[in-house]
């Protein structure tokens, strides 16, 4: 129940901003690209914000370890101001860019889409990913004696408090979700404040809305820091105080939205609205039609067959390689003496081989198979034929990613079944639950690269270019996984988790060299799973946003 509640909460923190964006689009059709621009302004703001906070800590203006090192009022105001300055100035830069490049995208509804993008990615990262990371860590630590961990007393107390809160009730899973929703709502207000500075085209007169947004953002954040320290155990009280600090912003935002909303005054507008309102299911049915067509294409062009065969071969081959490689080596003339040095192969070796094979070849296949899905149809002119029909552009792009996902799902089912059978036949039975989860994690990991390749395929003007972009983005993501600090929270972390599961499924103690395991327990990496989901969704949103603006 606890796992279900937190999983649902994490999923909503990731999916709700997108659902709100979908709802906003149905009402007033802001472009998807604005969601991505909003997300980018948040990411860029954090690229400055986090180093600035580190620097302030280095020079002693912010506490480096315990919060109690410095007066709380000073810490709260400093943290609030750095957040307000970095985020609102990044947002201002975003608006300036839009006003310069696309002045038609400066409607009030567009500012809400920007706010959803900015607050949405914040909710996904600071809500979904970090909650998932914390949740999975706490889940792993439930059975661990915390006193055996090398933590200072303050850290130990905080961890115990978190564990108590976490295990007290599944209902507590709703608290981080509420916090993120509050934060998302105020991001919309901040976005409206900056928009107000630009909206009338008289920035020289209305500039004061920018410092107002910075100061309000600083005040809200400072208040949140203050209450977090003074009522850290009372989450509900913290939420209440936060909500009270947001009330003036909500009131102003509500008043502005009511005043500025562009009504559809004409009869034709009303009629169109009726058609649009009733068409969400029609659009979903077109997505389904497009998905079925994509799957038929994969079948009829033999790609599904080839992919299935490749996965099946690598799945079946992994236990075989693990079993027979030592035998093959020992039969080679001249190196027989080393045969005794090779340990007796185990089911754990089969699992290691399985993960290695599918990750390496799966990665290459993911990029190769997805790189032409959009650009190929653009180049041939098929996309223009289809998009001139009532095919929503989102459905066109999404159906291709979904079909690729189905193809890899089939691949993993075949590979998984083959590897399971031969491991059973050559070694011993695998723990099915761990083995199934392992395959699920590898599938999720692979879909990240498929999504990046689909994004590359949408961005590029040729299939070769698409392959380059897809491969470049994928390699960059893999390299980012090696970065200290947050690297483990990237999708690469899924492979470490999968490796531990593989060992445990094979009956080997899950303590891989260098892995984050505690007392032999598998250390779940929910953060990596959530970040994989975020990257897949954001790649898709960006691909749709770009495709919407492309001329065919």
């Amino acid at each position: 129940m606890l796992i279900l509640a937190y999983s649902l909460s994490i999923f909503l923190m990731i999916a709700l901003p997108l659902a709100l964006a979908v709802a906003l689009r149905r009402v007033s059709r802001p472009v998807w690209l604005l969601f991505s621009v909003g997300s980018l302004t948040f990411i860029l703001s954090q690229a400055v914000h986090l180093p600035v906070n580190d620097w302030l800590a280095d020079i002693g203006f912010l506490p480096k370890g315990s919060v109690g090192e410095l007066p709380l009022w000073r810490t709260a105001i400093t943290l609030g101001l750095t957040a307000g300055l970095c985020e609102e100035l990044a947002r201002t830069a975003g608006y300036a860019l839009i006003q310069w490049l696309k002045p038609l995208w400066m409607r009030m509804q567009d500012s809400l889409m920007l706010g959803l993008g900015h607050g949405g990615i914040e909710s996904m990262i600071f809500g979904g990913v970090l909650t998932a990371a914390g949740f999975s860590s706490l889940l792993s630590m439930r059975e661990v004696d915390l006193n055996t961990l090398s933590l200072n007393p303050e850290q130990l107390a905080a961890l115990k408090l978190q564990l108590e809160l976490f295990t007290a009730s599944p209902l507590n899973a709703i608290l981080p979700l509420i916090e993120r929703l509050l934060a998302l709502s105020i991001q919309l207000v901040f976005s409206l404040l900056i928009w107000r500075a630009f909206a009338r085209g008289r920035l020289s007169r209305d500039w004061y809305y920018i410092p107002l947004a910075i100061l309000y953002h600083a005040a809200v954040d400072a208040g949140a820091v203050w209450t977090a320290q003074n009522s850290s155990s009372n989450y509900a009280l913290r939420m209440l105080i936060l909500a009270l600090s947001l009330l003036p912003g909500w009131a102003w935002g509500f008043w502005l939205v009511r005043r500025e909303w562009e009504p559809r005054a004409t009869l034709q507008g009303k009629l169109e609205r009726q058609i649009e309102d009733s068409s969400i299911w029609a659009e979903l049915s077109v997505f389904w039609v497009a998905l079925i067509k994509e799957l038929r294409q994969l079948w009829r062009t033999r790609r599904l067959l080839v992919m299935g065969a490749v996965f099946l071969v690598f799945g079946m081959g992994s236990p075989l390689i693990a079993k027979f490689t030592p035998l093959a080596l020992s039969s080679i003339e001249g190196i027989e003496m080393f045969a005794e040095l090779i340990p007796e192969p185990t089911a754990g070796d089969a699992m290691g081989q399985y993960i290695k094979n599918l990750s390496q070849f799966g990665f290459i296949l993911a990029v190769l198979m997805a790189m032409g899905v959009v650009v190929g149809e653009k180049e041939r002119g098929v996309a223009a034929m289809i998009i001139s029909k009532p095919m929503p552009r989102w459905a066109f792009v999404s159906s291709k990613l979904a079909a690729q996902a189905v193809m890899y799902l089939v691949g993993f089912l075949l590979a998984g079944a083959g590897a399971y059978y031969y491991t059973l036949f050559l070694f011993e039975p695998l723990a099915f639950g761990d083995y199934a989860l392992l395959n699920g994690l590898m599938f999720l990991w692979l879909i990240v690269f498929v999504a990046l390749s689909v994004l590359g395929s949408t961005l590029a003007g040729s299939t070769v270019g698409a392959g380059g972009i897809g491969l470049g983005l994928s390699v960059a993501l893999l390299l980012a996984g090696a970065l200290p600090g947050f690297g483990a929270l990237l999708p690469g972390g899924l492979m470490g988790w999968a490796s531990q599961l593989g060992q445990r499924a094979a009956g080997v103690a899950a303590s891989l060299p260098g892995s984050a395991s505690v007392s032999g327990e598998v250390m779940a990496n929910g953060g990596a799973a959530a970040s994989a989901l975020v990257i897949i969704l954001m790649s898709l949103v960006l691909a749709i946003g770009i495709f919407e603006q492309q001329e065919l």
């Binding site: 034709q268 169109e272 058609i275 649009e276 068409s279 029609a282 659009e283 049915s285 077109v286 039609v289 497009a290 067509k293 294409q297 009829r300 062009t301 041939r380 002119g381 098929v382 223009a384 034929m385 289809i386 998009i387 001139s388 029909k389 009532p390 095919m391 929503p392 919407e548 603006q549 001329e551 065919l552």
Partner: protein, 330 residues
């Protein structure tokens, strides 16, 4: 050149978005410094087969793509069957069928499967799809090839399938971009025949630079030149409005009485005359556009006699659409 410069009739109907099959207002498209389309305001009446003429690069395909919602206008708007198509609304795309210049299909599908896919995108039920597909395969003469892979189709078959897919869902307007430009004479005949069969059932907006095709099937004509509309008129009215200022001369066939060199000299001599606008020669036949008809009637036959040519036919005629087009687009 614009309409006022050309001195030719520019008839822009008073019809608006609600009453015209196609209505464009101030439609413009720039690609950097290049102005592909410049403030096109045009109204296409329901039921017409509307020829959209222009040289290569005049802006015809740009107009088509803007109407089909595949490109975004720099300025202006366009409506098809009363719904704005330049706003990228999904519903607007039920109001027209579009055939690009080089139609492309999923080659692994059969013609029947492709039409079925289009019908599914449009939200048609199975029964409606089946009946429409049967009717359109018959109209496009593709019944026998219905289950064959599209990858093996000829150019003419692809164009006919292209028109068939554009007709799926019975849209009130068809946008056909150069439907015959890449076809051999037989293929052109088949496609033009198919378009002729649509007369009165659907509004056809047909772009082409092949004037004989336009003259053959269209009842209304617009001429686009360097992104600007220079003429809109009914085809018959247009031809009637142009006075009889062309003369056709047919001589004894070459090597059967006339020699090539003498004809070439005669043609060159004609072109030097101030009352001659243009001379077009095809074997032993000359078509002469005349600026001053009375001088032409006085001086032409003496010039023929001076070159000692044997004349089989001498006839004053109205200019063809091609003559008018060349006159307006140079």
């Amino acid at each position: 050149m614009n309409a006022s410069q050309s001195g030719m009739p520019l008839e822009i109907s008073e019809a608006g978005p609600e009453t015209a099959a196609i209505y464009c207002h101030g439609l413009s498209k720039h690609y950097g410094d290049i102005q592909a389309l410049d403030g096109l305001t045009l109204s296409v009446p329901y039921g017409s087969i509307f020829g959209f003429l222009g040289r290569n690069g005049a802006g015809k395909t740009t107009t088509m793509r803007l109407l089909a919602g595949l490109a975004l206008p720099t300025a202006g708007k366009a409506w098809v069957a009363g719904m704005e198509t330049t706003s990228a609304k999904r519903q607007a795309r039920l109001r027209f069928g579009y055939l690009p210049q080089d139609p492309a299909f999923y080659k692994w599908m059969s013609a029947r499967e492709y039409l079925d896919y289009v019908g599914q995108i449009q939200g048609l039920g199975r029964t409606d799809r089946e009946s429409q597909i049967d009717r359109l395969l018959a109209l496009s003469d593709l019944q026998e090839a219905a289950m064959r892979r599209i990858g093996g189709f000829s150019g003419g078959m692809l164009q006919r399938l292209g028109i068939a897919q554009a007709l799926m869902g019975d849209p009130p307007v068809l946008l056909l971009d150069e439907p015959t430009s890449s076809l051999d004479p037989a293929g052109r005949y088949e496609v033009l025949d198919m378009i002729s069969q649509l007369r009165g059932r659907v509004t056809v907006f047909l772009s082409s630079h092949i004037l004989t095709d336009i003259e053959r099937v269209c009842d209304t004509v617009a001429i686009l030149h360097k992104g600007r509309l220079v003429l809109v008129s009914g085809k018959d009215e247009l031809l009637e409005q142009h006075p009889v200022n062309a003369v056709e001369l047919e001589f004894e066939p070459i090597n059967g009485g006339s020699d090539n060199e003498t004809l070439a000299k005669f043609s060159a001599a004609l072109q030097e005359k101030p009352w001659v606008a243009s001379v077009k020669r095809e074997n032993a036949r000359l078509r002469v556009m005349v600026q001053d008809v009375s001088r032409g009637k006085q001086e032409l036959l003496p010039l023929v006699m001076a070159h000692d040519l044997s004349l089989n036919r001498y006839e004053w005629v109205r200019p063809s659409l091609e003559d008018i087009f060349l006159q307006l687009s140079t």
